[in-house]
Symmetry: C2
Subunit: 495 residues, 2 copies
């Protein structure tokens, strides 16, 4: 038996004044433990107050300041001599005061919102562990969590019992890793040999993605050196979904140009319209032309946890790889992104360069399958949230997002002064109303934080993602606010 005892449920250590223990328990705490104790004691109150403020309907989402105004409120200059603990608190206070409070349900700007208490706990745990998941022996528990999270997500989408994957630092990184993996699997010589060799063989690589797909796929094409022109944008239907026959046409045109199509990206939840591509039809085409089939579920991939949304996920099992960002719809803290494949070994076989000082031959050393070396243990955050809420709890969050979007679209449908953009039925609500000017005034007021978005051939419009923390009354209030500000604007002269 070893010496470890679970933490006894006693009260916290004694209060500390100016960094020193105020009573006889001082000896018990080493200096760093005592300092951590003092810090946690103080931030506790501030953190709870910040969340409470976010939940109060009268509090601003943000006190919007320009960079120069902000620099008048906070001293950003970094000193020669340290300020110590007491010098830090005014800064922590200002950081909270002037940051966006994403716990506020009227933060509707981006595809994420606040995290939740279990999310904060997870980050605190990661901070204390300061864990690096490059190799098993320095991160045994979190490595096992990563393996399990990837395996069970893979099984949910039908990738089978060998499913696995890797934590990546964001959806763009997951997508980039899918592209590099695809290229290295299909053209292993490019891993080592100069691409000149590849070009001698006539390999002009071409990728395909939706005209509504995320720009990270373009960046990946740029990064791997084939150029963004070789990332072909497939036309979409009015719902923002890839038209399968158009995909096939694009592939055939590429072949006709003498190129080598190798990769197609479909999207589960596009950034602007939250469209879900027809995964089965695209999968059939990918098989026919022997393309690596990736599904970018950075935004909407989390619908796999909802029974009600299951039909939108149909066909995901045909994909070779799948990106999911639990930091968006599921409220896991930023960032938590996973690239899932049918067999975890594929990643190492495709990407390893086997640095001898780090990797000693343990198959649980996941790090060599990615692009990075040191990796944050972000899987822990998804693992704890899953244990806490269960797959069913995640599913209820997803269902709530769809319910709110239906409510919102329905409310707009009854107003003559708004026009919906595109058909609905998914988790973003898009609509027009002299957008640019209203956007600036709404956001500056701090009442809401919302965003506008473009689509080719359409005027600028609002794009509001439906985070499950939003309430119907927030939606009503947003419509009223936009309507009120809109009546003060001369529509002819603006936007």
């Amino acid at each position: 038996m070893d010496q470890y005892q679970p933490t006894p449920p006693r009260s916290p250590p004694p209060a500390l004044v100016d960094g020193h223990a105020s009573n006889g328990e001082k000896e018990e705490l080493c200096q760093e433990a005592a300092e951590l104790d003092a810090i946690l004691r103080r931030i506790h109150t501030m953190a709870v107050a910040f969340v409470q403020e976010g939940k109060q309907s009268k509090s601003p989402v943000v006190r919007a300041l320009s960079p120069s105004e902000l620099a008048e409120q906070i001293d950003f200059m970094l000193p020669e001599g340290g300020l110590g603990l007491e010098g830090i608190w005014p800064l922590v206070d200002s950081t909270l005061k002037y940051s966006v409070n994403s716990w506020n349900p009227r933060f509707m700007d981006k595809l994420y919102a606040s995290t939740n208490p279990i999310g904060v706990l997870s980050e605190l745990l990661l901070a204390i562990l300061n864990v690096n998941v490059h190799v098993y022996h320095v991160s045994p528990v979190v490595t096992m969590m990563e393996i399990q999270v990837c395996k069970q997500i893979g099984q949910l989408i039908g990738f089978g019992s060998h499913a696995g994957g890797l934590v990546c630092p964001g959806g763009s990184a997951s997508n980039l890793l899918s592209v590099i993996t695809a290229r290295n699997v299909k053209f292993p010589h490019i891993k080592q040999a100069s691409s000149q060799e590849g070009y001698r063989r006539g390999e002009v690589l071409t990728m395909f993605t939706s005209a509504h797909g995320h720009y990270s796929v373009d960046k990946a094409g740029m990064a791997i050196g084939i150029g963004t022109n070789q990332v072909v944008k497939v036309p979409c239907d009015e719902y923002g979904r890839i038209i399968p026959s158009e995909l096939e046409r694009c592939i055939q045109e590429s072949l006709h140009r003498g190129e080598t199509p190798f990769y197609v990206n479909a999207t589960a939840g596009t950034t602007v319209m939250a469209a879900f591509d027809p995964f089965e039809a695209i999968g059939a085409i990918a098989r026919r032309y022997n393309l690596w089939y990736h599904v970018d579920g950075s935004y909407g991939g989390s619908i796999i946890f909802s029974e009600h949304a299951a039909s939108m996920a149909s066909g995901l099992a045909m994909a070779d790889s799948f990106t999911i960002n639990p930091h968006k719809m599921l409220g896991v803290p930023l960032q938590c992104s996973l690239l899932i494949v049918h067999n975890q070994q594929v990643l190492c076989e495709a990407n390893a360069v086997k640095a001898g000082y780090l990797f000693h031959g343990n198959i649980y050393d996941l790090g060599d399958g990615g692009i990075g070396c040191g990796r944050r243990g972000d899987a822990l955050k998804m693992f704890l949230a899953w244990k806490y809420y269960g797959a069913k709890g995640f599913g209820r969050r997803i269902d709530r997002s769809f319910e709110l979007a239906r409510y919102f679209a329905n409310a707009l449908g009854h107003r003559s002064d708004f026009c919906l953009v595109g058909p609905n039925g998914t988790i973003n609500v898009c609509f027009c109303r002299v957008t640019r000017t209203i956007h600036a005034r709404v956001n500056h007021s701090g009442e809401f934080q919302i965003d506008h978005a473009p689509l080719p051939g359409k005027p600028l419009f609002f794009r509001i993602p439906m985070h499950p923390a939003i309430h119907e009354r927030d939606i009503d209030a947003l419509i009223d606010t936009i309507s009120r500000i809109g009546t003060t604007i001369d529509e002819g002269s603006l936007d």
Copy 2:
């Protein structure tokens, strides 16, 4: 005047039992704030106990278990129904119990160690903010912190008043971004046009790095599609430093083969020997051949804060870009990596694809300069640590690492049963002693966690990085432990 008041220095909110407030203040707290309150109250004690355990000389660095043994202790299966808050605590307890305790000064395995109390505070603050630094308007304060941290690091190394940079998710990502930026600056047509165009122009791109350089430079060469064979390894001297005349010979051979050299990577603190390349001499060669000059300071770049180590940093100002990971020598929590350039605009000009839904034209929107989209606000962690310790405090940490390494090398020099590998004078200590077997036994015992490393042409040896939290008594104990275990091993039959 707005409504915000700095958090009053009152005691924490009332204790909660089973998620419900136990007294009349219940109404005051929204449900999420109450839950966060309960969670912080409980993790507080566990966190402080974990740090205390790490600092006790008899406590294990890790209770080393194999994956299957660990799976007997922790239920890694993820449930359909949620366990809720009470179900989480045994898991949190086990996670702490079976993870590596990097607060223990006898964790000497990797180039990082524990963070510190201000680091934990920083991560907690990031968790509460759940901040994404892609664009200014959703992350005003942290964006300003990122700009300031990058600017002042740039100024420290002589990059001038326009210096800037970007937070990247780790040193490998920073190095990869330097490679992509270099290629896009020097060959802007490759950004869009098929590389076939490039190859028609005769561009077979070649990169140069140290034979002792980090494998992320190989991975970057693989990622951008030039292949690892086009990443030329320059021979090093006995200190592990690039030999400048060898670099010039390699460049000339590449030119002779008709290639296009475009990038050279020097290292400030190589992974194994912690060597610092001769930056001025390499800079002169880079200028002569018009190469992008990058310095990978992922490990040792933090010496820029030390006056005593200034001579090792001489010539950094000649670099075009510089990677620094404050999460290694400076104890900022994993991960915190920055790519620094002479002018922040260079990154956006080189890498932007200008996604319209995200970027509305604000030059403070840093995100488009990188490869990713969403980004963690890791700069906040460096910012707070810098305010707390000051540049001078960082410098003292660096000096302490050098002091410990001198002590260690000196102690080994007096022992006939150890042999030092390579000359010393830097922050890793490398030595031989029937390495593989001793390594396994030492790490399994939990007394220390240490690592071994290879170098071409040398037998396996130990590589011990000197984290400033280590004490001389830990070094003495490590030497004794290795010596004791070594006497029990038949040297002829092993390693």
